[in-house]
């Protein structure tokens, strides 16, 4: 259930060139279109390692023949592209598909129906994708993911003419309350949403046991290389992520580009928001972990929560 950057696409990109003639200027615009087909399904999600468990989840997947993915497939595009997403709701409840800050259609997709969303990406950045219905239950149950919008041409800049980087990672962090939410909703019951005591915490769907070894989560390259980390908090708890080894620079705070970035070693990514930081790797192996009590655990078992590694070698 890891994020594979190239895995998510379900159809090849079509490249077309549009030439726009304006009265005084000839503008050559290169536009691409990405399209995805997603399926909403019920199923299970397993957190490996001590304290791990199998949770009932609802999730997006791009494979009609498999169960849900938590988080959903990574959606990727470039600045100014048109993205088409067709969502088949193969679950028994109504759902929707919203790219926060990008799409505005929050109407439900009835069970057994489908809907196609088409949008032009507004600016390079990192966006939360989720089902916004059902008082956070649908998002908590696993219906969340991310849209990454890269600089035009796919260059290694956070945005066109923005800060450069050598490698990138997407960290989708979340939380789940197994006994009070997943077990109840997963069995068709009614969740009492006033109480939320999550006991599982994940990065890219993984507990720390796996996230500290997952190549798509661990930030690893030669010392001195600069990693762009796109952080999406799809959960309901704010997460305070502490980086060992070096200070990062915050270049994007929930969509707000910071021209004069602050340095930090700990960033608070509020529930439902995003951030982008640049982190220069240094020689050695260091942890990155959330700095809040139980969020480091899987049902109380240490380091099987939100934790991964920063590796300079």
């Amino acid at each position: 259930m890891t994020i594979a950057l190239a895995l998510a696409r379900t159809s090849a990109r079509r490249l077309f060139v549009a030439l726009l003639c304006l009265p005084l200027f000839l503008i050559s615009a290169v536009s691409q279109a990405a399209s995805y087909t997603l399926y909403i399904k019920a199923g299970t999600h397993t957190i490996n390692g001590a304290g791990g468990t199998t949770l009932k989840v609802w999730g997006f997947t791009d494979n009609a023949g498999t169960g849900p993915m938590v988080p959903g497939p990574l959606l990727e595009s470039q600045e100014g592209e048109t993205v088409m997403v067709t969502v088949y709701n193969q679950h028994t409840l109504a759902h929707n598909f919203v790219v926060r800050g990008v799409t505005t259609d929050t109407a439900s997709i009835p069970a057994g129906s489908s809907k196609t969303y088409s949008f032009t990406t507004p600016k390079a950045g990192t966006y939360l994708v989720s089902d916004t219905l059902n008082n956070n239950i649908n998002r908590e149950m696993g219906l969340h993911g991310a849209l990454v919008v890269r600089a035009a041409g796919g260059v290694n800049q956070a945005w066109t003419n923005g800060p450069s980087f050598d490698l990138e990672r997407v960290w989708i962090v979340t939380d789940m309350d197994k006994p009070r939410w997943n077990d109840i909703a997963g069995n068709g019951g009614s969740v009492s949403t006033g109480t939320y005591k999550p006991n599982f915490f994940m990065m890219n769907g993984l507990g720390g046991h796996d996230a500290m070894h997952d190549p798509n989560t661990v930030l690893q390259d030669s010392p001195g290389k600069v990693g762009l980390v796109r952080i999406v908090n799809a959960g309901q708890f704010d997460q305070s992520l502490h980086f060992h080894a070096n200070h990062f620079r915050v270049i994007d705070d929930d969509g707000l580009r910071l021209s004069n970035p602050e340095y930090g070693d700990t960033i608070n990514v509020q529930a439902g928001t995003t951030a982008m930081v640049l982190f220069p790797l240094r020689s050695g192996i260091y942890p990155m972990h959330v700095h809040s009590a139980q969020l480091e655990t899987a049902n109380g078992v240490y380091l099987n929560g939100v934790a991964t590694l920063l590796v300079g070698q």
Binding site: A50, D238, N260, I285, V290, A293, Q294, G300
Partner: protein, 347 residues
Amino acid sequence: MNRKMLSMKIGTALVGLALALAPLTPAAAARLGNDTVLNAASGVTINVQALDKTMSDGKTVRFWVWCAGGGGSGGMGGGGCYPSGPTLELGVGQQLNVSLSVMMAPQENAPYNGHTIHWHGLDVAQSEDGVPETGASVLGDNYSFSVDSRYVGSHMYHCHVHTVKHLEMGMYAPLVVKAVDSAGNFTNVINSGGPTYDYEWNLMYSSVDPAYHTAVGDSTVFADYNPKYFLINGNEGRSSTAPAETVTAAVGKKVAIRLFGVQSVNTTFQIKNASGSSQSFTVHNKDGYKLPSTQTLTSLNLSPGQTADVMVTLPTTSGSWYPQVTFKNLRNGGAYSGGTVYTRLNF
């Protein structure tokens, strides 16, 4: 009348307390607060002691706290044997020289036995990072490194063994990097090239879920955090009339207030006057790094693991301010019941 006599006379006249003001010289600021302060380059030995603390509701909570040089008093002062102590200071370019001894230390069973020191905010080499999972010894260690002027500001040091418990138990304290003059003496600048201050005051926030203090190992207790007590410098301060700490400075002076967020929940810092109005302050550093431009605010959020250095200029007429921290839950930012901790700054 020399400066010291003048200062003492003013201090006595203003507040009528036994607190005498330290001499004010260009290179050294007066210290506010009760923390034990040690020079981290001087060869400090840190060990760990159990400390039973009676809380405001009469219940006792066992802490594991740092003690310097054997500690022994079990209370404030001495070896700094209290939650949030002792403060360590390190000059830019000077070699930290700290030994951790875990002999006789209270500890858990394997795999969470022993202790380490993690230098939170100082970007040290892996061998000095204090993380057992990346190779640090949990049976005692010697730490040695130096940092450059980018780090002038507030950091912290804490145990990094089974942190879900050990951080909660009280093994945390301020670590302040100081600029130095050509003779190697600490200078009173808020950051490299930044303004000077007349006083400095460390405020370390922490939160306490008593269930975490008795649970050990891979317990499901650690899956749910329910803080009952909220501390600044190891003390509850549940009202402005019973503050966690009261300090006194001279009117019109500049005070650096260093904020260390080692709690496990969200927080908001404010300074209010006697009538409850918020006073503005200027933020100079976050996470021990100079901000690109200072920020003048009336409230500042610190999430778990963050630090900040702020400065205020005191009024020219006497009075009191109440720097205070409200602790908030991670789900919706709602304040905890009894979750505001007050301190008092007289001038």
